[in-house]
């Protein structure tokens, strides 16, 4: 997906125009290096390092992992305590006003102004991002139609369901044609059908309009469905980051063997395999052997028999993000 350039969103008046991210700066939309943040004595982020490329990226982690704090720092709402953070090659704390001008943000909470009509709310947010009133009015309707609320757009938000409010939040995030949107738990409170619909909508917005998306969520399997890349944070530290396939390890061809004995026996099998020239490693009772042709399966069987252990599971590696998350947690 091509990166959207800053010059598509010129600022007028006293606003400086941010330059495009240059090739020398790399293709990353966001780059974080050893970022740390604490509120008083509470350390929220300790050592966060990642690069976010164009496309849809999932910012994953359990509740309290530091995802929302990370989003706040990307928006330039609070400074980092240590490390470096660059958004489009700029420090978001010092260039926050300009960065937020071309970003959309959908907050996590659902308590939007109850007596405000959805169309008025979306139009107001579009105007806040610098669109003229007439254009903001038109685009508010367009955005609400896009998210499936065309007929409901003049209803007060207090009368809307959680699913509809999630869509209003998405509409206000995209109404001003941002180059990137940050969605904080966009599927929170939705039933499975609504959740699928919302995920399809997000994927569609990224594909059809080339808007880069960062989705913060604690539901790994959902994000796995739509994301091109992922950053997994736990207790303020990066557990993994990169493309989905790279993080899952699915780009490394391998066979997984799960034995019915102890971890010590697994190490013995790995030693046996390595003496025979195979690439192998173990984690607990799980053994990973490089390659995935039939000879690997034969070798796994033979060396397990040689060590005297039984095989519970033997399959090509196909990890989910949840597997990776649990594995990284140990």
């Amino acid at each position: 997906m091509p990166d959207r350039k800053w010059h598509s969103c010129p600022m007028v008046g006293t606003e400086p125009r941010l330059p495009s991210t240059t090739a020398a700066q790399g293709p990353e939309l966001i780059s974080a290096r050893r970022v740390s943040k604490a509120y008083g004595s509470v350390e929220v982020l300790a050592d966060v390092t990642f690069d976010i490329q164009p496309g849809i990226t999932g910012l994953l982690g359990s509740n309290g992992a530091g995802k929302t704090t990370m989003l706040g720092m990307i928006l330039g709402l609070h400074p980092i305590d240590g490390g470096t953070l660059a958004v489009y090659g700029h420090n978001p704390w010092s260039a926050g006003t300009d960065i937020r001008g071309v970003m959309g943000y959908a907050p996590e909470h659902h308590t939007l102004p109850a007596d405000l009509r959805a169309n008025d709310f979306v139009r107001h947010v579009a105007e806040l991002h610098g669109l003229p009133r007439s254009e903001a009015t038109t685009r508010a309707s367009d955005a609400l139609w896009l998210v499936g609320l065309g007929e409901e757009r003049f209803r007060p938000m207090g009368t809307m369901s959680t699913g509809q409010r999630q869509r209003v939040k998405l509409a206000q995030a995209i109404a001003h044609d941002p180059s990137m949107i940050l969605l904080d738990e966009p599927t929170d409170g939705l039933d499975p059908v609504q959740r699928d619909s919302m995920l399809d909508l997000i994927r569609g917005i990224a594909d059809d309009f080339k808007i880069n998306v960062i989705v913060s969520s604690h539901l790994l399997h959902e994000v796995e469905r739509i994301c091109d890349g992922v950053v997994i944070i736990d207790r303020g530290r990066t557990l993994a980051s990169g493309t989905i396939d790279a993080v899952r390890g699915n780009d490394e061809i391998a066979v997984i063997v799960e034995i019915d004995s102890s971890a010590v026996q697994a190490v013995a099998v790995v030693d046996s395999l390595m003496r025979a020239g195979w690439t192998a490693s173990s984690s607990g009772r799980r053994i990973t052997i490089g390659g995935d042709d039939d000879s690997v399966f034969d070798a796994a069987r033979d060396h397990c028999v040689a060590v005297g252990v039984g095989i519970n599971r033997l399959q090509r590696r196909r990890l989910s993000l949840e597997d990776v998350f649990l594995e990284k947690l140990g």
Partner: protein, 311 residues
């Protein structure tokens, strides 16, 4: 995204000709759909302008349920009623009533309650609501910062207060001038005009700052409203007790938030009035005004600088 649909045509046919072959006007609806925006953006100034507009609409109840409209409308109407009555009386019986009409400075005594009510209802409605319903997080994710957000809100509160502090005296000035009961001569007219402007700035500015400071201290609209309506008149009670009953120095009257700006208005208009703060020289009143204004602004900033925004 390019236009996904062809234009929909309304008419007998797409050529624009009716059954007889005559040319007819043809209406076309272009379903543009969501698409890229390539136009200009107005930046921070546009964001502040939008915030002020939205806040004013919110405070006036536009686009909201009827009860919000009624409160704002009632307060504004109440502030204009005395002016309309005085102008009407002067028009009907001008000679006899001229001496009984209030001066421009005295007029604020008739609408003091509406000024407190406007401050009490507007600031909490504009500040507390944003914090409670999470709109503050949306604002701070836009080109607005905490400072520009507060500036926008202060402008909106101040404009609402101008409705009740500037509008009625100006109405009186214009109406009396049309009835040949206004200031004598152009120079005096301009002087009175500017005195009215300065008076409304003094009252509006101080009550904008104080009401915002109180509203910044609570997330609950009703609590903040009650606090504003209690603290401003309450300061008069407290300072009276301190100076009159306890015999403390008259400088304590400078903490009388109810009478301080109105006493200053009298001095702006060159009148004395019977204010408790009259024992103090003008410069101490100005210093007291600046002190309360600065203290309120500092408190608002302190609260918002520390505020963890709910996202």
């Amino acid at each position: 995204m390019t236009n996904p649909l062809p234009p929909r045509t309304i008419g007998s046919n797409a050529t624009g000709l009716d059954e007889t072959g005559d040319q007819q006007s043809v209406a076309q609806i272009f379903d543009r759909g969501y698409r890229r925006y390539e136009g200009e953006r107005s930046g921070v100034r546009g964001a502040i302008r939008s915030l002020v507009n939205h806040s004013l609409r919110h405070a006036m109840g536009i686009g909201r349920s009827a009860r919000y409209k009624i409160i704002a409308l009632l307060i504004v109407v109440m502030s204009y009623v005395p002016a309309v009555v005085f102008v009407g009386v002067a028009a009907l019986i001008p000679i006899e009533t001229e001496e009984f009409l209030p001066t421009y400075a005295q007029y604020y005594g008739f609408v003091a309650a509406t000024i407190y009510l406007m401050a009490g209802f507007t600031s909490p409605e504009l500040l507390c609501s944003d914090r409670r319903n999470g709109l503050l997080g949306v604002y701070l994710a836009s080109p607005l910062t905490r400072v520009t957000y507060l500036i926008g809100k202060a402008i909106a509160v101040f404009i609402m207060l101008l409705f009740v502090t500037l509008g009625p005296p100006l109405l009186m000035l214009i109406a009396f001038s049309l009835q040949n009961m206004g200031p004598d001569g152009f120079v005096e007219w301009i002087q009175v005009f500017f005195r009215i402007i300065v008076s409304s700035l003094l009252i509006g500015g101080l009550y904008t700052a104080i009401s915002m400071a109180i509203a910044a201290s609570s997330d609950r609209v009703t609590v903040a409203t009650a606090a504003i309506l209690a603290i401003i008149p309450g300061s008069a009670v407290v300072t009276d007790r301190l100076v009159i009953d306890a015999g403390l120095a008259p400088e304590f009257n400078l903490a009388n938030l109810m009478f301080l700006p109105r006493a200053m208005v009298f001095r702006v208009h060159g009148e004395s009035g019977g204010w408790p703060v009259n024992g103090n020289p003008s410069y101490t009143m100005v210093l007291a005004w600046v002190f309360w204004f600065a203290l309120s602004v500092a408190w608002v900033w302190y609260r918002y600088r520390r505020l963890l925004v709910r996202r």
